[in-house]
């Protein structure tokens, strides 16, 4: 391969390769909407070679699952008795 072809090849590879910053951005984005085919492909390629982003991907999914629970069934919490009394009083007027 001549020099020029090598440089073109490198540039093409470079355009396809994601940084971890962008890969985690795509991982965040896919929690909310579908990635484009190109984004999806690039992310898959990146995840194959990057154990940190694979861990981020898994852990982010665990957190999403927890957040979903938080949304559906917020853990029980109680108004203070003082506040309850205060509201009752205002409503009673």
């Amino acid at each position: 391969m001549n020099e020029k072809a090598k440089i073109l090849m490198n540039n093409a590879m470079h355009r396809l390769m994601l940084s971890c910053d962008t890969a985690t951005f795509y991982i965040t984005k896919k929690e909310y909407q579908k990635l484009s085919c190109k984004e999806n492909f690039q992310l898959k390629m990146h995840l194959m070679g990057c154990k940190f982003c694979r861990a981020f991907n898994e852990q982010n999914a665990i957190l999403s699952d927890k957040i979903h629970t938080l949304q559906q069934n917020p853990p029980p919490a109680e108004l203070s008795p003082e506040k309850k009394a205060e509201i009752e009083e205002v409503l009673g007027k």
Binding site: S19, C20, D21, T22, T24, F25, I27, T28, K29, E31, Y32, F52, A55, F56, E58, Q59, N60, I62, L63, K66, I67, T69, L70, Q71, P74, P75, P76, A77, E78, L79, S80, K83, K84, E86, I87, E88, V90, L91, G92
Partner: protein, 192 residues
């Protein structure tokens, strides 16, 4: 006045007892600050009381009250995000900036592996850590994250309410997730 049996009825005298704690748990999971969440429940019930004639009984009393509270939460986010302090953000982006390592993980901020049993979170302790970590997000980041993730509000509406651009919204969501992950790992997997 004869009651329509098919419609939901309304009874403000029972509100605090029947819905108070539920409304509070809804508010606190979004606002994190106890006093503000309590005041918000109070404001909601007062607003509902004043508007009780408008309750049509098409939905349950609780659904109606939650819809009023939801509006109050968004108003709170909007006010918070207009506050210059909401831009204060001590979050460190966990990636190198510039140089040969540009965009790759900085070692001490990179994900470690999580113990599967703990990640399963049978006793809900991970949930508590997560809620604590959400409470540490900078106000504008918390508002964006919560509106998009917990309330599933459209991107357009969030941008309008918070006065941010769409690309800004995605940057905030990305950072919020990076920060939450690292916070949960530090608080839970390393400190315990």
């Amino acid at each position: 006045m004869p009651e329509d049996k098919h419609k939901h009825s309304i009874d403000p005298s029972r509100w605090v007892g029947e819905h108070g704690d539920y409304l509070f748990s809804y508010a606190i999971s979004r606002i994190s600050k106890r006093e503000i969440a309590e005041d918000m429940v109070q404001e909601t019930l007062l607003a509902a009381f004043q508007a009780r004639d408008k309750f049509r009984g098409g939905s349950s009393e609780r659904t109606w009250l939650v819809s009023i509270l939801k509006r109050k939460v968004i108003d709170h986010y909007r006010k918070e995000s207009r506050n210059p302090e909401s831009l204060t953000d001590n979050f460190t982006v966990p990636f190198y900036k510039g140089g040969a390592k540009d965009g790759t993980w900085i070692k001490e901020h990179a994900p470690s592996s999580w113990d599967e049993e703990i990640a399963g979170d049978a006793d809900g302790a991970l949930m508590k850590v997560l809620q604590y970590c959400i409470s540490l997000l900078a106000p504008r980041m918390a508002a964006t994250f919560s509106m998009k993730t917990l309330d599933e509000i459209s991107t357009e509406e969030i941008c309008k309410e918070l006065g941010i651009s769409e690309s800004n919204l995605w940057v905030l969501l990305h950072r919020a997730r990076l920060q939450l992950r690292e916070c949960v790992e530090n608080k839970w997997f390393k400190e315990l």
